[in-house]
Symmetry: C2
Subunit: 314 residues, 2 copies
């Protein structure tokens, strides 16, 4: 059932022990939602725990730490979780069919929860959680401001993407006014690269190839490159945005070799090409500007498959 803001606020007021679930491989938005809501509920004398199926990266420690899920809550909340699958394998089995309230901003939300507070116009789920906290009458502490600001900035690429609305900017202004350490948070989120990432990026750039008169830039990441750099697949996402950024490139491709010998393709594009269509021809999908698919064969064959399909659209 889709509910409105007031109903969500009433639900929180009428209960006392909450388990707040964030999605697996947690990011700044889901954690910002979780930690801000925990703080707000605690300030009302309620008990709330934030739990995650996966470890929370240390860089998020300034918002707090995740709790163990060894307690029996009255109610279970999921924040920024569009699908029970995204909770992670264990948590999906344990809690997938028991979520009492989901607060989310994904238009694709599967409405798996008993109640869902959904606003797909919000750039970050934190925009909605902030409205809930305001509705609860809780003052915005510095910690809450840091958490909400983190969600806003991470889900918008530091206010760069097209999902940013005037509201996003104004809420960020309010959070800075309430004490959010905006510059510090942005440094941690956007300006810190691990040594292993830098080593992997160097190898990736060294091997980058251009095709179709510079309209396609192609990066290949092999298992050997992970070994040489000390990096792993978790660090490839940032690389995937590089090929498309090069002047004149319409389609940027990052092809990563998986341990099972298949290749995962990440495709990014400018306005000229709809890469969700390109990937669909290879059994994948996604958005017009960012899509993906899986291809098989050895490196040469996989590269050829991808290039021949791009050629049809360029």
């Amino acid at each position: 059932m889709i509910i409105d803001l007031n109903s969500a606020v009433e639900f929180l007021k009428n209960n006392n022990n909450f388990l707040i679930l964030v999605h697996g491989h947690p990011d700044g938005d889901t954690l910002g939602c979780g930690f801000a809501l925990r703080e707000a509920l605690a300030s009302l004398g309620k008990t709330a725990r934030v739990c995650c199926n996966d470890p929370v990266p240390e860089k998020f420690n300034y918002m707090g730490k995740a709790d163990g899920d060894d307690f029996t809550p009255d109610k279970i909340i999921a924040v920024d979780v569009a699908d029970t699958k995204l909770l992670g394998k264990n948590f999906e089995e344990k809690y997938g069919n028991k979520v009492d309230l989901c607060i989310d901003h994904h238009g694709s939300n599967r409405l798996y929860a008993e109640r869902t507070l959904l606003d797909s116009s919000a750039a970050a789920a934190c925009e909605i959680v902030l409205q809930v906290i305001d509705g609860l009458g809780v003052d915005i502490s510095k910690l809450i401001a840091n958490c909400i600001y983190t969600g806003l900035t991470t889900d918008t690429g530091c206010f760069r993407y097209s999902n940013v609305t005037p509201r996003t900017m104004r809420l960020a202004a309010d959070m800075i006014e309430a004490g959010a350490e905006n510059a510090k948070i942005n440094t941690v989120m956007f300006e810190t690269k691990t040594k292993t990432y830098v080593a992997l990026e160097r190898l990736a750039l060294d091997g980058m190839k251009m095709y179709f008169d510079g309209q396609c830039a192609f990066i290949t990441i092999t298992q050997e490159m992970y070994r040489l750099s000390g990096s792993d697949e978790t660090e490839v996402d940032a690389i995937a945005s590089i090929p498309r950024q090069i002047e004149g490139v319409k389609v940027g491709v990052t092809m990563r070799e998986k341990t099972d010998g298949t290749f995962k393709i990440s495709m990014r594009s400018s306005e000229a090409v709809d890469v969700s269509e390109v990937c669909a021809t290879m059994g994948g999908g996604g958005h017009p500007r960012a899509a993906g698919c899986t291809v098989t064969g050895d490196i040469e064959k996989a590269t050829e498959t991808v290039l021949s399909n791009i050629k049809k659209f360029i």
Copy 2:
């Protein structure tokens, strides 16, 4: 003479033919100021031209083009120009002592103009120009919104830096509401890399060295690298931010070989080290987190000089 907002607005209302000067090697803020002000004055039936000592990069074309300065204005305005030197050599000689109104946000402004409207709390000079335009009673057109947004986002690294205030965020919200193409502008300003830049970055990363247990990352850019990549010195600024971004690095150094055989040093730091002090020991200066100096000798000697001075502060 320092003047207030009302006096600046009256000055613009009482005159009709303006030459608007932007600084040399123009950036998004000075051009955003110039083009927005030209548009606002034109909408009041006044004549205004935007002139620059140097060519304006094509990527700024969506805001308009610069005019020739072959006309006799009643009044001369400088925007985002802290010192007549920054006008560029020719323009300094021609206009340096003739500026009737300067609108600026640099606390270091030399007050060279007849009247100066200064607000050093503004993250971008565009924040001030927008207040002036509001004071003139001009509606914010889509073009003006694009210009002002450009200044706000480029002078703050896309709202990333510590100069961002709640006002900056709220004015950006207003500009998006007035039609600014925020996502498109940010793609052009922050996500487009020339092929020559990518080639130079690759060479730079290949040669990057780490010192003092990973606390210092050091990049050297030689004249040979410009030749190999087809790039030039104008593209080094973006590279200078890379070494400091690596996890654990306290001081990031970019050393570029000049054509006269000297080396220009750009130093960036985390909170731990004040690089303006480090650079001062070599006759340079700057800010605590970003500073520079010039050193002489061959590459090995220059590197050694810089490292030995950093060592004292690490």
